[in-house]
Point group: C2
Chain length 326, copies 2
């Protein structure tokens, strides 16, 4: 797989360096251990930190800024950050009001954040993101994966913290956002970690339903279909999980996995909006783009979050990051 | 090539519909003939319109909004818009102060915009964008192609128009921005128009230098290289064209062609900044992302614009579009 890189081992550092150089007003970088934080730290209030393997950009770096994350800790490609990264980030950006750690439900991330939590000498709360409703590895007992819904949880918790809400409230809102959120993904192609072969093989007339963010095979391989049919298949487990019913208002996130053109994502948005509309569900807010990616995977995920008034208000709150500004 | 679409003939309309639905505060859509315009029209001043084939998203739709375009006219995939689209857009968004048409240098676009200009009963000026310095088809006499530099010209002219500058001044600034801008692209993969085979074949260890935005073969095929070497090769014709010299300050745009992960684009940004720095050229502003794409092509282009104070001031002027907000 051809990629723009120099040495594979230097990829993450060089990429994060480029990211920080490109957004000097927003973020700054700590090199060792590696983390990215807001250029101008909060004066008071709860800090919000996330992190995870690299290869999912803009997640999480692109969401560091006012109204969202105080710091992000990028691990190696598809590899959790070290506890040392998380501890160093928290010590630099968090204060007496404490820190919320937003953790995607993967074994490596859980382990790293657990160790970091135990090492931190400050009030710590924890929001676990597990929005994937594909049923992937359900029989293994590890629970659902955290995927694109992470950006919603980060936005909600970040907005709550920016308003000065206390630690327990930020945690409660994050948990509520996660519980209100469901995601289902599909891949048209696989991806490859530099220096490693493609993560799976897929035929020219097949698509992989239920993929996550690491190029892992999904839950079923089905024949290639029209976009409307793919959207129906993606929405089915989401609707079941959230028990979506007529009259509800939702936030819809159409997320590209990295290699899909924006024009196709917008087409999926129109299809998903129409399909939800046929169920009487109103799309009240929407975000379309590459937010939580899996390297160069061609594919997309649909995320639905059932918005109550409080979550809607926090979603709408101002944000100023590299990826989102409103 | 697997793509998220229903019927190929409906692709553009469905995608544009999804785009407009996703940005209701910014844009609205005229269905027949098809164009996208600002939701809230300028009260007075020069209108700025662009357009071109679809498949380059977010170009040009994503740049409709305050401080940039008043309207954009999307053609079919890789096909110029019709004169009727351009005329209808101008009649709806332009006033007595006239309109600047921003035209990429392709035969189809030129023809459509020329016909539209002749049909418009208002003052019209014209900025031709031809920033591609690859030497592609130079022997054919059609001149250089308009590629990612288009977004810079649209930003400069849009900012000038938003300030109420007169038509001739907007035109002059657009021409100056174009003359100060040079772009060179490279593809790692080809792309395919729906229903059509891939536009060219490329080996697993080859890259295509000097590609444009239509999946056309470039000017040379070379062995795959490290990112730093690719950046040097891309910058060489740019430096020569702009006669870049130590002490100059530039705007750098690192543009993804559609299928390249953001992390790689940021890595290219770091490499390009370092390479320019070694020549004594300072990167004063930067934009990194997918701005002018060629469907799902994996690849990137580097664009350098030599900023004088006036262009810098217009680049920094506020903008509020789907793609750029500052």
């Amino acid at each position: 797989m051809k990629k723009f890189l120099n040495l594979p081992d230097e990829f993450v550092t060089e990429s994060v360096t480029g990211f920080v150089q490109a957004h000097p007003a927003l973020v700054t970088m700590h090199r060792s251990p590696l983390f990215v934080r807001r250029r101008t730290a909060k004066r008071k209030g709860v800090a919000v930190i996330s992190g995870g393997g690299s290869g999912h950009e803009p997640l999480d770096l692109g969401f560091v800024g006012v109204g969202m994350l105080d710091a992000a800790c990028p691990g190696a490609l598809f590899t959790a950050p070290t506890p040392g990264q998380i501890v160093a980030a928290a010590q630099q950006v968090a204060r007496d009001d404490g820190v919320v750690l937003i953790v995607k439900n993967y074994a490596g991330d859980l382990k790293a954040f657990e160790l970091a939590r135990d090492m931190l000498d400050m009030p710590v709360q924890w929001v676990l993101v597990d929005d994937d409703v594909s049923g992937f590895a359900a029989h293994l007992g590890a629970g659902r994966r955290g995927v694109a819904g992470t950006v919603i949880v980060e936005k909600i918790v970040g907005a709550a913290a920016e308003r000065g809400l206390p630690l327990d409230t930020c945690k409660r809102l994050g948990d509520r956002a996660n519980q209100a959120t469901a995601t289902m993904g599909v891949a048209l192609t696989a991806c490859a970690v530099p220096g490693v072969a493609a993560t799976f093989e897929i035929g020219a007339d097949q698509i992989e339903m239920g993929v996550g963010l690491h190029g892992e095979p999904g839950v079923s391989r089905v024949p290639f279909m029209a976009a409307d049919a793919i959207v129906d298949a993606l929405l089915e487990p989401i609707v079941a999980d959230l028990q979506l019913a007529a009259g509800q208002g939702v936030l819809l996130v159409v997320n590209g996995l990295g290699g899909t053109p924006l024009a196709e994502l917008y087409l999926l948005q129109a299809a998903a909006r129409a399909a939800l509309g046929r169920r009487g569900v109103e799309v009240r807010r929407v975000a379309v783009g590459n937010f939580a990616t899996a390297l160069e995977t061609a594919g997309a995920s649909l995320t639905v979050c059932v918005l109550d008034d409080e979550l809607l208000d926090l979603w709408d709150a101002p944000v100023r990051t590299a990826t989102w500004r409103w």
